[in-house]
């Protein structure tokens, strides 16, 4: 089927979908039998090689866009060097509050994710795969059922272990997941060696998020030519739409070549909007005027300075104040610190106060200097990248809302809406679609 005849953007079970192909949401999780009838069984290990993955250009979909093949090679090298058996970890914790793409995959296409993890385990010679999710996530129950199905079907699977952990923001970071799986607190830790080299109980560990493993499952079956089809050169990818859109929380797959404008004007999208928050709560603002022709692709957007991160695309309503909304996000993010690193513990609340003063139109006289000083005290000094993400959000606010920032700094009254958090800043449990 030619992709040009189908929509480049598709929801669960809709025409054009690749990752999200199969039954619609109403059908619930795709059962193992239906999954195997639709896609066939996983080919033997020889057909998926690290070289093939490298040639595909697949990068991790958890937010950092790290090349999957390089991580795999690092695991292999560490196994060869240390003789320790490797472990595979599926990070399904998706701790970005507004992101739902991994949850949708785990809840509706559990076997696609599990196939990818099984393929990676075969490739690396790992006997154990840990699947880690939020204890509150509805996907946990569905995964448990999916693992029972696989056990009953006697697939050539690795040993599975389902882990349920806390859902707070920094607990989904890779080293926090590893530390939790070792019986410690779910907090990021500063590793001198990457998880791929020394991860779970010091074993070389391949840790990816759910979408990355789902992509591997398709790649293992189709080979890279079919995997890419006519879509983005780095493969199709999932996006969660939120904010001022017709259907907040909708997860779609970008399976063909499209622009951000087409994504936002398509089903579940939006027509107006002042700016778009891209990549997560600690993402980057994008001026709505740049939306219309920005090519949708993870690499293309990273190159344009707005990396897709967790895949969140959240539209700010035209009448909302971007400075006030940023202040709310920075305050919330400051509260999400794991409480370990000084620059994060002390720097982020100071940063939040400064942005709140600006939002209220009452900055201190030297706040511009203070902001630069604070930023240099915080940047690149955490065990994880949490504080750096917050700084990037603030930097993009200064750029995209320059006119508003200048007015606020001068104490000119702001006529835009300050109240009502535009995005839900949740502590509550998220459900499944």
């Amino acid at each position: 089927m030619s992709v040009s005849s189908v929509p480049p953007i598709a929801g669960l079970g809709e025409p054009g979908a690749v990752l999200l192909a199969g039954p619609s949401a109403e059908a619930g999780p795709e059962a193992l039998r239906a999954h195997l009838e639709r896609l066939g069984s996983l080919p033997p290990v020889s057909e998926l090689t690290v070289e093939e993955i490298a040639a595909s250009g697949l990068r991790g979909r958890g937010g950092a866009d790290f090349p999957v093949a390089r991580k795999m090679q690092a695991v292999r090298d560490a196994v060869a060097r240390t003789g320790r058996p490797p472990v595979v970890v599926v990070n399904g914790s998706e701790s970005e509050p507004a992101s739902r793409k991994d949850e949708v995959l785990l809840a509706f296409r559990p076997h696609l994710v599990l196939d990818g993890a099984a393929a990676a385990a075969r490739l690396l010679g790992a006997d154990e795969v840990v699947v880690h999710v939020h204890s509150a996530s509805a996907a946990a129950q569905r995964l448990s059922a999916a693992l029972d199905e696989r056990a009953a079907a006697r697939l050539l699977d690795p040993g599975w272990r389902l882990s349920r952990g806390p859902g707070s923001y920094t607990s989904g970071e890779s080293t926090a997941v590893i530390q939790f799986l070792e019986g410690g607190p779910a907090r990021p830790r500063s590793n001198r060696l990457p998880v791929a080299v020394r991860g779970l109980h010091d074993a070389p560990t391949l840790l990816h998020n759910a979408e990355t493993f789902a992509q591997l499952a398709l790649l293992a079956r189709a080979g890279r030519a079919a995997w890419r089809r006519d879509g983005p050169p780095d493969g199709s990818f999932l996006v969660t739409l939120d904010g001022d859109v017709r259907e907040p929380g909708r997860v779609v797959e970008v399976a063909g070549t499209a622009t951000l404008g087409e994504l936002l004007n398509g089903p579940g999208g939006v027509s107006g909007g002042a700016a778009v928050l891209i990549g997560g709560f600690a993402g980057r603002w994008l001026d709505a005027r740049r939306v219309s022709d920005l090519p949708l692709g993870r690499t293309a957007m990273a190159e344009a300075g707005v990396p897709l991160g967790c895949g969140l695309v959240a539209v700010l309503p035209p009448d909302a104040c971007g400075v006030a909304q940023t202040a709310g996000l920075v305050r919330w993010l400051a509260g999400q610190s794991a409480g370990q690193c000084g620059p994060c513990v002390f720097g982020l609340p100071s940063l939040a106060e400064l942005i709140e003063r600006l939002a209220r139109g009452r900055p201190r006289r030297r706040d511009d200097v203070e902001l630069r000083r604070l930023s240099s005290s915080i940047v690149a000094r955490g065990a994880c990248r949490h504080p750096d993400g917050v700084l990037a959000l603030v930097a993009s606010m200064l750029e995209v809302f320059l006119v508003d920032v200048t007015r606020h700094a001068a104490g000119t009254p702001c006529r835009k809406v300050h109240a009502t958090p535009w995005l839900r800043l949740p502590d509550e449990v998220r459900g499944v679609a």
């Binding site: 937010g63 950092a64 890779s174 990021p188 500063s190 990457p194 791929a196 690193c341 000084g342 000094r381």
Partner: protein
Amino acid sequence: MSPRSDGHLTIHIDLARCRGHGICALLLADHVDLDDWGYAVLNEESADSRRATRRARRASRACPQGAISVGPVSNEPGRLEA
């Protein structure tokens, strides 16, 4: 993440452990400053003389949090994880 080829050791400070005691800034003044909140800032990761290596090891032993390590692995060539 490979061992340094020049044989020099590198200093690593784990900011998740640092509690701002500040002893390292006294013992390793050439390498470590303190930020506004008293936490260690590593200005120079390379301990490129025997004297520097000796001091770095002493600072490592003196840190009440065990936050300082000295080893052959460079911190430089990019983090594999993010």
